[in-house]
């Protein structure tokens, strides 16, 4: 008898739950219908917004970035301020901070030198225009050895990339080429000479050709600097030499402080 009572009670509770559940479902259906009647295309909007949300998430569920204007260009370190900071830190015996400030000042000066060099480059070379959006000046904190300046010239399928670097290691390799008889001028297949020594405005140079890369011309400057021209889709070696001759190599050398 007692067992029967318990079963009846459980059935009653179950029925109540089902009733509430179906009641809620009914209410939701009603609400949706009213919404449809009022907005007309509520469902389609909802499905669109759901799709948009789905497209902006990765498989792991985290959102992908679709906004943001990127970083703003910051001015190079303020050299005068950094020098003043270095003096202050040195006077108070905080040599680690003084060193950091001098590094920052050096970086500021290097970036300014790099910008000066960039501005001195010609606007047009062999009818190729300078793509100013690709101008680059990079400096590391290690002072002078890693200053890199790059500019790109373009027209149709032709491109000339000039890279001016201050790196003793690379420059040293090229010098080694000139000064070591072991590195003889080589013939790749007996007919076509793909690496050879040449001169650009009285500066010793090396020019190379590769079917996939085009022409590359390297001129070491002074003790540790180097200019590299990479020329894509240039018809002849002479075209490359003409393009290189359009650059004021003496001026660049002077700006980099090379002798």
């Amino acid at each position: 008898m007692c067992l029967l009572k318990k079963i009846t009670l459980l059935l009653f509770i179950g029925l109540m739950c089902f009733s509430f559940s179906s009641h809620a479902q009914l209410l939701k259906k009603l609400k949706d219908k009213v919404n449809n009647a009022v907005t007309g295309n509520s469902n389609s909007n909802q499905s669109q917004s759901t799709n948009t949300t789905t497209n902006n998430t990765t498989s792991s569920g985290s959102p992908t970035n679709t906004k943001g204007g990127g970083l703003t260009n910051t001015t190079p370190p303020d050299v005068n301020q950094q020098i003043a900071d270095a003096e202050k830190s040195q006077a108070s015996g905080d040599y680690s901070d003084a060193r950091y400030s001098i590094q920052q000042a050096l970086m500021g000066v290097e970036l300014q030198i790099g910008k000066q060099v960039l501005q001195s480059l010609p606007a047009t070379v062999s009818s190729l225009d300078k793509d100013t959006t690709q101008n680059k000046v990079m400096s590391t904190q290690w002072g002078w050895n890693n200053l890199t300046i790059q500019s790109v010239y373009k027209k149709a399928d032709q491109q000339l990339t000039v890279t001016i670097g201050n790196n003793a290691m690379y420059s040293g390799f090229v010098d080694m080429y000139f000064n070591n008889s072991m590195y003889m001028q080589t013939n790749s297949n007996g007919d076509n000479q793909n690496v050879k020594q040449t001169k650009v405005k009285s500066y010793k140079a090396i020019i190379t050709y590769d079917d996939s890369k085009g022409y590359t011309l390297l001129v070491p400057l002074g003790q540790s600097s180097l200019i590299v021209w990479e020329c894509i889709n240039f018809a002849t070696e002479q075209d490359v030499m003409n393009a290189a001759n359009a650059f004021d190599i003496d001026g660049i050398k002077k700006m980099l402080g090379e002798q």
Partner: protein, 196 residues
């Protein structure tokens, strides 16, 4: 008395270097103001070298006068500044025939390799040849390496990265316990603070 003389001479050297620093900074300011960037750059490099040497001398002054039973060869103390590829180099030896040796190289190119070894247990295990292992000295992770000299003697080297600087501590004809005990007498925290 001997150490008093060393300290006084170190103070005088630091004072002279500080003077050079001020001269170089003045030159940098004048050159920069007149738009002579190349000269400003050179003067700043000189100033940085002097700061490196001052820091190096301060580090040297922190190193213990004795290492185990060995006395410091203070006349061989060496601080060099190399602007460019590497930073300063600080070097001291103890005992006859440089039985114990410490060198600290700023901006060492070996740092990244050593850090990978120290922080990747799997790689550390693979690269280990039985003669090296990872240890901690005063809380700083480092690598200890044993090398046999073929005459029954073993030399040990402890390498500890500190930021971008690498401290290398070597002891000849010793054991790993002895070298670790000696390395524990180096004021690593103070050195790291100066080199940061």
């Amino acid at each position: 008395m001997k150490y008093l003389i060393i300290l006084i001479s170190m103070f005088i050297t630091t004072a002279v270097l500080s003077q050079d620093f001020k001269t170089d900074i003045a030159t940098a300011k004048t050159s920069y103001a007149s738009g002579n960037l190349e000269d400003a750059h050179f003067a700043l490099q000189q100033a940085m070298q002097e700061i490196d040497i001052i820091i190096g001398k301060q580090v040297i002054s922190l190193l213990p006068a004795n290492m185990g039973n060995f006395s410091a060869n203070t006349k061989d103390d060496n601080v060099m500044s190399n602007v460019g590829f590497m930073g300063s180099t600080i070097h001291r030896t103890w005992g006859q025939n440089d039985s114990v040796d410490v060198s600290i190289i700023g901006n060492s190119p070996l740092i990244s390799t050593l850090n990978v070894f120290l922080n990747t247990p799997l790689l550390g295990g693979m690269m280990s040849n039985g003669n090296n292992k990872i240890i901690k000295v005063q809380g700083y992770k480092g690598q200890i390496t044993k090398s046999d000299e073929g005459n029954g003697e073993s030399n040990y080297t402890i390498q500890i990265p500190m930021g971008s600087s690498l401290l290398t501590f070597t002891a000849k004809n010793t054991t790993d316990t002895q070298i670790t005990t000696m390395a524990n007498t180096l004021p690593l925290q103070q050195i790291a603070k100066l080199l940061k």
